[in-house]
Symmetry: none
Subunit: 203 residues, 4 copies
DNA sequence: AATGAATGAGCATTCATTCAT
DNA sequence: GATGAATGAATGCTCATTCAT
């Protein structure tokens, strides 16, 4: 009874693992099968094809990120400003802690994974919506400003994504402290929508 | 003697061309060979293997980006502020214009390309140095400020990289105008180091 | 007891249906199972393996053809000549209407279907007997003539089979009207055993 | 120098052989490779894909049949009647002697071998043209008659094809002498276009 | 300097079949 | 009577690479 779910889970976990270890290009159904100790055919009992397996993984990742962001948002419901900052931090942390998910969620080019149903992207977009909504609240309360909340949310996202992305691919100068880098990146990402603060060093 | 170099050049050029045109995944030695009108075997006379060819290509890409950034830097040698902005713009443009090139340069995980010699990365870092130097000049002239130019340059780079990266993977909401998005992203990337300006929309 | 028979029937009917609809090559146990709404495993409760299912189907086809020919024969019991012509027509129609069925019945090489028991062919031969019998009746009544009814019946059969076969493989010039072709083929097939008639076109 | 041609020939010959031995459905590139003692990959050096290999085989068969029919036609250029009969006989003999070719030439359903370029069929049709031309000559010389030479040629072909086909699949009653059967079949196939002859047994 | 011939390893996927339940 | 889980074998095909010439 639990065995069906078990194997499905093992496939998903192993795939995620192999994905980070060897990359998308070198991943094959056979490799996954070998890693879980089952025949390649068995994978097809749980996933229609390779793409379906990836999509299930992406969905899981999106869902997990969504849950985390939702929790963060709830914890800071009264302060849009604190909420937005916390969301950014959580996003970066999620990426660094879940490299496996993050790569397939945001680094794979979609045209390389054919057959990804368009409506699945809507699910992905919910994560951005949480940020956009913090932004909208902030604007409404007069503590943030933006010409276009949609554009601003995406721009913030881009900065966060670049941060996660460079860290994951280990392309940031190793002499730079990771946390300092992330803090600076988030600060900067938010500076565009927050009012002019007293700039510590500018004094 | 020049013929050896000639063919090597043609291989590199053709590979880059195919890469931009058809993408990384569909690139094969045979395809390259067919495109240059030589046998696949011939490529091995100039490159040890596919990886070596790739690394040579990445090097060239880094070089090309370096050249472009250097040219931009020279054109704005007297104004660090204009220089930095132009560098950012050029970086993004380079990424968008050389999609597949950008991908192998910055998106492929280096440890997955087995034989990529670590020292090649030093070459890659020069690109960041150009930006850091504009930043340093700006600080020196009192038109910019930063606690640590290395960190700030990397943070700016992360924002730019995230921008290019999201665009290339087509993950930005299609209702958002591409150029507006890029402009906003660059504006924001620079806001961290530029002095507080009169915010247009803040009247 | 009747339920066992029921499912067996459904399997046979569905298989025949899929065969006619999608062709021999694309037929699989899983497809059949899906179509009847049972598990693939269930088919093995009623048929030892795929071959056995096939042979049962061929048998049924032979039986069906036999029934049809018998009905035709009965309808023309008093005129051997009309009977023979009607039998020919019915044979060709059967082939064209049951394309895939006809193929497994007459086009598949029996020795390649490993386990096909030789004695099943006796059943197949009854169809030829109906024609041979019409021929014998005709000879007896003095309206047909042949050296050897068995040979003549086979020769007629060969002509009919060739006609069906070429039509099914679409190898007849498309500019030739199908019905005209079939009429001419039957006319000619019978000319060998019918007495010399006034040849219409010889006027 | 001759080795390239050699292997190509061996592939073709072996394929033809396996085709008759095991049938189209069970033929695979690997099986061919194994039979010739080369890797499956090597086959692709000489044939673009499986279909191309089949088509080459079909072409060869058509060409060979064409050559034989042409020779026969030339030998009986002055008597259309003798020519037509000789062509029929040669056609049947070709089929029986070259079972390997015949099956892929005329028994395989074309939709099962996709990608067969339509113009290749023109080549196949030349064989029918030789017969049609004998028929036309006969009509012109007043020794044959037909409403439509194209239809008649196809009808004759159908009868011959049925004869070969039943013989190859061993479906003719074994008690019937093979040569007698073929003679009778040809006699009958021609009776439709030849003038009424003195029927030996009718006397 | 260049190549034609050849290959082993790999790919995603499908299939008929088995077996414990 | 029926099935879910599992698999070994197979399929056509592509690829980077080698090697003798």
């Amino acid at each position: 009874m639990s065995s069906e779910t078990d194997l499905r889970r093992r496939i998903l976990d192993t795939t995620r693992h192999l994905l980070v270890q060897d990359g998308y290009a070198s991943l094959s159904m056979r490799k996954i099968a070998r890693a879980i100790g089952y025949s390649a055919t068995s994978i097809y009992l749980y996933f229609e094809n390779k793409d379906a397996l990836f999509h299930a993984l992406i969905d899981e990742g999106m869902e997990q990120l969504y849950d985390e962001l939702k929790t963060v948002a709830a914890a800071y419901s009264d302060s849009p400003r604190a909420r937005l900052r916390a969301l950014c931090r959580r996003y970066v942390e999620f990426g660094l802690e879940n490299q496996e998910y993050y790569e397939i969620m945001f680094l794979l080019r979609p045209e390389r994974m054919e057959r990804y149903p368009a409506d699945k992207y809507r699910r992905a977009r919910r994560n951005l919506d949480i940020m956009a909504s913090a932004l909208a609240d902030g604007v409404e309360q007069g503590v943030m400003h933006t010409d276009d909340p949609r554009v601003s949310a995406s721009v913030i996202w881009a900065a966060l994504h670049g941060t996660v992305s460079l860290q994951l691919s280990r392309r940031v100068d190793i002499r730079i402290d990771r946390d300092a880098f992330i803090d600076a990146a988030i600060d900067q990402a938010l500076r565009g929508v927050l009012p002019v603060e007293v700039r510590p060093q500018a004094a």
